[in-house]
Structures are given as structure tokens and as C-alpha cells.
Amino acid sequence: MHYDTPSGSRPKRLPVLTLLTLLLGAATFAFWMWLYPQDLSYQEQNQLFLFTWDYLLERLALPGGLADWISEFLVQFFYWRWAGALIMALLAMLLQRAVWRMGRTQYMVSFIPSLLLLVYMGDVEVLLSYPVALLIAVWLCPLFLHARWHRLWLIPLGWWLIGPMILLPVLLSMVAMSSNNAKPLVYGDKAQQRVVSRSASIFSASGTRNQSSGASHGYTELLILIWTAIVFFVGTRLMANQYPLRDALFGLNYYRLVETLPALQWIIPIVTLLSILACNIPLQFRHPALAGALLTLLLVLGTFLGVRATYDRDTHETLAYDWLIRHERYADVLKRADKYQPRNPVSACSVNFCLFTQSQLESRLTDFYQCGTRGLVLPSIRDNLSDITSAELLWMMGMPNITLQYAFDLQESIQNGRKSGRFMQRIAACNIVNGWYGRAIRYLDLLDHSLFYRKWAREQKEMIQDEARVAADPVYAWIRSVRFQDDFITNYNTLDLMMAILYNQNKNNFMAAQYFEAWQRLKQMEDKQ
């Protein structure tokens, strides 16, 4: 599959290649737009990008900060799923083209890193800064191939901006330099070597030096390797001394969870490096079309199997419920649950809430998976997902203080320490309901620096200037009218009694009544078991 032409003129089959790239983009877009849009929503709600210098400086204070900042800038657009899908598609296409540009011989091979990333992103805790850093690293490869001694300052700079992913161009340049000094790694006949040389091959880029100084180049590359190690260790001490060494060495901002290093996180850069090298091998096939078709089939099949293996169905279904509830598509949750419902309390809680919104809580409660009263309202759980629906339903029912607690804990459970626009919105709203405007304004001012929460924040800031407007707001007025009139200590185990109190206080609060009844039924079912 050698797509380039000896003349170096515009490749004849370029439209086909472009078409393949566009196909990758279309497939990636469709994947995120229609198959897993909930993942985009999850990414978006676990960060809050602010248009402030301080925010940028805070990111740049850590290695990999620029990739992190660019990633968070992009992820804020995941608020619109089409924009998120488009960004993911563009990243996949750019990465594929960047890899191909490094060799311009094996076009299908250049798809491997993008497809592998798609597989890896099945883990919802992978941050977008990982593919962003990978893309920048591949983009930097040509620069490193020509940089020679300039790598001495490019390595620390690159490490600071994109993190340990800078190893990719460093290693590539070392391989290229060493190979040219030992023996040519460009396979094929002389004509093909010329082709490769003219098509910006990594070997041609570095292969113009004096071949007789092979030994000295070997030492040079050894020095570069030692220098890279020094940069990593000294840089970690200087910039990331409040992080475990292992985390700093493998990237602080590539993965949301602490103390976790998924295998694909280090496999993908290696595969990318190998793909770039493979793209420089002008292999000749007797039946190029057949070989191309087989490789394509292999890649599609591999991606399909990879996605099946990494995309945990229950996790993504639970995320889908949350995404649909966020957009008030309650009926769609029930439709999905009719087909398949994960057997976990979070999904039960979401489905039960949607049953209530569709006035089916009483009639269809037992049609779906139940796990006792926990499946109706979850107790406080220390993660960034489980309690979202519980927080929302308790808000509607008239328990803003528990909602505040849940929303706060949800935000603080984001393990990489980021804040959340969605959760902060709810925290601000809880403070407004309580009349704590001084506290609310802090959150509203922060949201004012975001893109997608700004409008809401400004409306709220204007509203809290006038108590009459707050009192007239339908949401705040409703919650104030149904909330507890007495101040007492809450207890999850007596939540049903608290619901009864709410209903007795305000007979319009039929949500409290229905949830109370459902609680009793589920308790009975639990007792029988």
C-alpha cells in the first residue's frame, strides 16, 4: 500500500485518502453524537472552564498544563453534543493526518492511533487532554527531527506544555538519528528511498548528516536520553513536588482518577510511535487493493471489538439516564429502561424519578429493577455521579439543604479537583433559596466567567438584587413554599417521615406524598426479602 508517487506530484489517489479520513471523521462524529453522547455530557459536567488569566496560570503551573487548558477549553463546548461530537471527530482526523504526514506511505496504518483512542475513550475518566497532548506531540515530531541540539530546550518546554507525551517526538527523533547513523531504515529500492526522501520521511529529515560520525551521534542520542530523564525528574521536583513521582512521570492531567494508570495510557503513545515508523516503510503488495481492504477490515473489526470490551454497558447506560434527565427527557429514560436497565441503585433512582415525572411511579414501580429504598433516594455517596438524581428530586420535593449537601459533595468528588458548572449552578440556587445571597454571589461570579453558564449567572445576579423578584421566581417560590418550616436534623433513615412532614405541611406537594408511598412499598418489599 504505497500511495505516494515517485514524481512527488500530487498523489493520484488523494481524493480516496481524503475520503477515508472524512469517513473516519464521520464515523467518529456519529459515534459520539448518537451512540455515546452521555460521555460528552459527563466530561462537560466534570469541569468548569473559566475565561480568566488566573485559570490559565493555574493550569500552566503544572506540567502538561497547556494541553490541559486547551482540552478544557474544548470540553466546555461538549455542552452542545453536536459540538462535542464534532470536536472529537476533528481530533481523530487531525491525529490520523498528522501520523500519516510523518511517512506518507502506509495510509491505513495512520488510522491506528485514532481508532485506539476511540477505544480508550470508552473509559469515561480519560481526559481530553490526553488526545490533545498526543496530537501536539505528533505535530511536534517534524520539529524534533530537525532540531538536533535545539532539543535541549525543546524537551523541557514540551514537557511543561504537554507533559510526558513529549517523549514521543523525543524517542522518534532518537530512533531516526540513530537509524541513519547505523544503517538505512528505509526499505525498498533506491527509487522508493528517493520517494521517501522527498515526502518528508523521518529518516530523510535526519539522514543528511555525515555518516562517518555514527559513533558520535550515538553518544549524542544517549545524552539526549539522559537529558530527558533529568528534565523529567528535576521538573517534577520543581513543578509537581506535591504529587507522587509516578503520577508526575506518567502525566498529571491525562486521567481523572488518582493513583490509576490504565495500560492504554502508555500503550497508545508506543503504538503511535510504531505507526509513524510503519508509515515510513514503503511495503509493496502484490494486490494492494486487497491488502488495503483486508487492513481496513482488520482495523474496523479491531475497533469494534475494542469498543465492545472497553465500553462498559451499565456505566454508559447509567450515564445516559443522567444525561437524559439533565435535558428533562424523562420519557426517553423509561424507553431505554424498558429495553435494558442496569441493576444498580443509581439507575433505579433515575428510573423511579422518571416514573414520577410521567405520573407512573405508582403503577409501574415494580416493572423496573428495584433495590429497596436506596433505589428511590440514594444516601450520600462520595462520587461524582451517584447522587445527581437524588439531589435533583430532593430539590423539587423541597429539601434544598440536602440538595446543597449532595451537590457540594458531587463537585468535591471530582477527583482531579476540578469544579463543575452544573453542580455549581445547583449550589448557587440552593443558596438563593435559603436567602444566602452573599454566598451565592461568589458562585455566580465564577460562573459568569464561563461560556455556557454566564447567561444564567447574570440573570440570577440581577434577580437577587431584588428580593421581590426572587420571591416571584416560580422555582424558588415553589421550593420556599414546600420546604420544611421547622429546623431539625435530617436523617436518611427517616427520610420517609420527612416526606410525610413535607406533605402535611403543604398538600400541594404531591411529589412528597408519592415518594412516601413508594418508599413504604419498597420497604415492604425489602422486608419480605
Binding site: 459533595d409 468535591e412 468528588s413 476540578r418 461570579d445
Partner: protein
């Protein structure tokens, strides 16, 4: 050129004060409220902001003993060296502030205000504190930090990113001396770290005879002992709209640890089931241990019935033996609760918190600071520093002429550190919030509260290298019971 600068500045001020300049008899609405506060010479500049609708500010500071400083910009941002020189020159005197602000193109000049520079030094390097989100059960980031009081430099001592999954407890130095300090980590790999003269020990203070690890600690002046309370802390939450959280102890006992052989003195009189003992603090002579004691009730049901008295017991620094418990302030009888007794290092005063109930005043709006004269036993609320919001944790400077405390007065939730001075008669001055480079931006944008602040005589030397490995290795020195 330099000699013309004062003239130019005066001309600018004169120009600003004429024409479109309005004069307002009121004091300027500055943030933070530094008007009339007393500061030590050499402290970081007391930068301040005007309300956001003022886009420019001009400030002239004149010392009663000489010296002058002028700044202009988006906020009053004084150069550190010039500020320190001015405050040093005016120790024992006053600084007069002339403030002009521009709004919609029009300048306004307010009435000048005064700031007092104390002649009592504050020689300590700075402060230590923990920063965390003021919330509920989960914290994504916690850290213990040190801050140079003479500049705006803040640096982490340890952050939770280094010890993932472990909650970070309070940092306790021995009478502001950082050569001997400890802090506690809670979690699966929990431990108490004690660092003495650079040597570290990771301890497990939970034994078969005690109900948990030591949490709230206080060093004995001789450095051999520390007293600590063991508190299984829990939270519960209110439904109303004037408070949210109540923190309480399921139980609490008091023990003394001997660092020579890592043994605990567990005295049954201080580890009773029917009573809660907590918040120990030694007097500077090391002969008395103050702490708080309350009758235990079923929690959280009767959490608002738990009220602590201030009690004390003698302490024998040779054997570690505690004497009889003597009630000093029977606050529970009058429907109050005392927490965090802190004797001054000069032995004159004892500062404590008083709230309606509970031992955790931070969530109690009514919680105030009180002062007891140790020579007479007289007590009084420190009205000079108290506010309608919660005042809670406090500590003394090494010379005991300055103190700091936490307060929620800014917005009712986020805790800030305030400093104030106290004279030999126990009179305190108006407190000022810990200065920041751009105070409004800093305090308004932060999502962290300042917890358990303390002075530190010198910079804390804590190297993070090896900490992660030490925490997760679970290699601990097991405390024994004497």
C-alpha cells in the same frame, strides 16, 4: 527625575481634587475593612479595593512620624519594600490614608482614614493554615500551607495530591516553633506524622485501650509530651435556612503521649463514657492542662444538649501524671458551650470560644471569642474582634501580643484569618484580615476556607520527597499504653 516625583504626584492629586472631583464626607467603602485597624510594622502591605464600579484608585499614605507613599491603579497595591519602610518608620504612630476613586470618569475623594502601627513587633515568619472547601463530607483538595506575613508569598507544606485518598488533619507546632510539629492523616493509610528537628516518625496512636487515633493535639512546652483528644467526628445536617451542618463527636477521650517511648497515658478519669473530653492545651509553664468536658448525650438526636465546660488538671512533666479535674468555667450551667482553650505563651490570658452548644463553633453563627485573665479568672467576650458571624479557631503569636482567629464574617460561609493585637491590660484592637495582593479577587474567587491557623516562628521545613512512599508503605510506629 526622582526628586520631581513627589511634586508630580502632588500636582496629580491636586488636579484630581479639583475640577470634576467630588468630595464625600463618608469614609471610603474599601475591601477589606482596614479602617482603624492596628498592624505590626513590617507586615505585608494592606492592599485594598474600592467597589467594582470604580475603575481607578489613587491613594496617598502619610505617616505621623514621616514618610509618604502614593499608589494608583485598579486597586490600592502598595510596593512591599516602600510599605515596610513606611510602617517601620511609623511604629507607634499612625498612617493617614487619602483615597480617591474614579467612577464613570468622575473622581471622588472620601474622608481620610487612619491606621495604627503598633510599637509591639510581630517577629514571627508567618502563618500556617489548612485550606479546604467549607463543606460537607468530601474534599477534592486539602492542603496545609505556610504564608510569609511580610509578603504575599504562600507555599504548600503538604497537599492532598501527594497523599491521595487521605484526609489531612490539623498541623500543630510546639508554641509556634516549626522544629517540632505534627499533623494527622485520616483514611486507609492514616497516620500521625511527628517531625522533630527534621527527623520524621509516622505513628499509629490507636491502641486496644483507646477508641481511635489522636486527632486534636497540643505540645507540652518541654517537647517530650503532647496531649491529644480522640474524636470519632460525625456530621449531621439541618433543614432550616439559617444553618446547615452540625459537627459532633460520637465519643471523645483525652490522652497524653510520651514521645520518648511512644507510649500513651490513658487515665480512666479522662476517658469516661458518660463524658466527652476534648481540646487539650498546656499552660506555658507546662504544669496545667486545660481542656473541655461535657456530659454525653445520644447523638445526633440530642446534639443541641451537648455543652462543654472549661476544666483543667495539673500535669506532672516528670511522670506524665494528671491531677484532679477542676471546673474553671461551668458554661453548661448557663446554656453555653466552650471550645478551643488557648493559653497565651506569656501566661497572662486564656482565649476560648463560646457558643450555645457543641464543640465545633465554626458552624455556629453565635460563636464568639472570649478572654480569661489567668491571674484573676475574670472572663469577657472580646467585643473588639467579635462579629455577628462565627469566630472560631484562634492562636497566639510567639510573643503573645498578637493573636489570629478564623471568622466567617465576610459572607457567612468562607472562613478567613484575622489578626489583632492585645495589650498588657487585655485590650484588643480592631482586627484585620490577612493581607492579600488583590484582596477582593483573592477572597471573592477562592473556594477554600482557612482552617486551624497558627503563627509560625520560622519557615516550616518539610520536604515532600519520600512522603508518598512513607504514607502508603503503612510502616508505622505503634503507640503503646504505659
Amino acid at each position: 527625575m526622582k526628586r520631581w516625583l513627589p511634586l508630580l504626584a502632588t500636582l496629580l492629586l491636586a488636579a484630581a481634587c479639583t475640577g470634576s472631583t467630588q468630595y464625600n464626607e463618608a469614609l471610603p467603602d474599601i475591601y477589606p475593612d482596614y479602617i482603624g485597624v492596628t498592624i505590626p510594622a513590617g507586615i505585608a502591605p494592606l492592599n485594598f479595593n474600592l467597589p467594582p464600579d470604580y475603575d481607578r484608585v489613587f491613594v496617598r499614605v502619610t505617616g505621623s512620624k514621616g514618610g509618604e507613599l502614593k499608589v494608583r491603579g485598579r486597586w490600592a497595591d502598595f510596593p512591599i519594600r516602600a510599605w515596610q519602610k513606611l510602617t517601620a518608620q511609623n511604629a507607634g504612630g499612625t498612617l493617614s490614608f487619602t483615597v480617591l476613586g474614579r467612577k464613570d470618569g468622575t473622581w471622588t475623594q472620601w474622608r481620610d482614614f487612619i491606621l495604627y502601627v503598633s510599637d509591639v513587633p510581630l517577629d514571627d515568619y508567618g502563618l500556617t493554615y489548612r485550606k479546604m472547601a467549607p463543606g460537607y463530607t468530601t474534599y477534592s483538595r486539602i492542603g496545609i500551607y505556610q504564608r510569609d506575613l511580610h509578603s504575599f508569598h504562600e507555599e504548600p507544606i503538604i497537599e492532598s495530591t501527594l497523599t491521595p485518598g487521605q484526609c489531612m488533619g490539623c498541623h500543630t507546632a510546639n508554641a509556634t516553633d516549626p522544629s517540632q510539629f505534627m499533623f494527622h492523616l485520616r483514611g486507609k493509610h492514616g497516620a500521625t506524622l511527628v517531625q522533630q528537628d527534621g527527623r520524621r516518625e509516622w505513628l499509629t496512636t490507636k491502641t486496644d485501650s483507646t477508641i481511635g487515633n489522636v486527632a486534636y493535639t497540643y505540645w507540652h512546652p518541654d517537647g517530650r509530651w503532647f496531649a491529644g483528644s480522640i474524636n470519632p467526628v460525625r456530621q449531621c445536617f439541618w433543614t432550616g435556612d439559617h444553618r446547615t451542618i452540625e459537627v459532633f463527636d460520637l465519643a471523645s477521650d483525652l490522652v497524653v503521649m510520651d514521645m520518648r517511648d511512644h507510649s500513651l497515658i490513658v487515665d480512666p478519669r479522662f476517658t469516661t463514657k458518660d463524658y466527652l473530653e476534648t481540646s487539650p492545651a498546656f499552660t506555658p509553664d507546662g504544669k496545667t492542662l486545660y481542656f473541655c468536658k461535657a456530659r454525653a448525650f445520644e447523638v445526633p438526636r440530642f446534639v443541641d444538649s451537648i455543652r462543654y465546660d472549661l476544666v483543667r488538671a495539673s500535669f506532672d512533666a516528670e511522670t506524665g501524671a494528671l491531677g484532679d479535674i477542676e471546673t474553671v468555667i461551668p458554661a453548661s450551667r448557663e446554656g453555653h458551650s466552650i471550645s478551643f482553650p488557648r493559653p497565651s505563651y506569656d501566661g497572662l490570658w486564656l482565649m476560648y470560644n463560646q457558643a450555645d452548644f457543641s464543640v465545633f463553633p465554626i458552624d455556629h453563627k453565635e460563636a464568639d471569642l472570649w478572654l480569661m485573665d489567668l491571674s484573676t479568672g475574670e472572663t469577657r467576650p472580646i467585643d473588639e474582634v467579635n462579629s455577628p458571624f462565627s469566630e472560631s479557631f484562634h492562636n497566639w503569636s510567639s510573643n503573645s501580643r498578637w493573636f489570629l482567629f478564623s471568622s466567617r464574617r465576610d459572607d457567612g460561609l468562607y472562613v478567613q484569618v484575622y489578626l489583632a493585637s492585645i495589650d498588657e491590660n487585655g485590650h484588643c484592637t480592631k482586627p484585620f484580615v490577612l493581607p492579600q495582593k488583590n484582596p477582593w479577587k483573592y477572597y471573592h474567587n477562592t473556594l477554600y476556607s482557612f482552617n486551624v491557623p497558627d503563627f509560625t516562628k520560622a519557615k516550616v521545613d518539610f520536604r515532600t520527597r519520600g512522603t508518598y512512599e512513607a504514607v502508603f508503605s503503612d510502616e508505622r510506629i505503634q503507640a503503646t499504653v504505659k
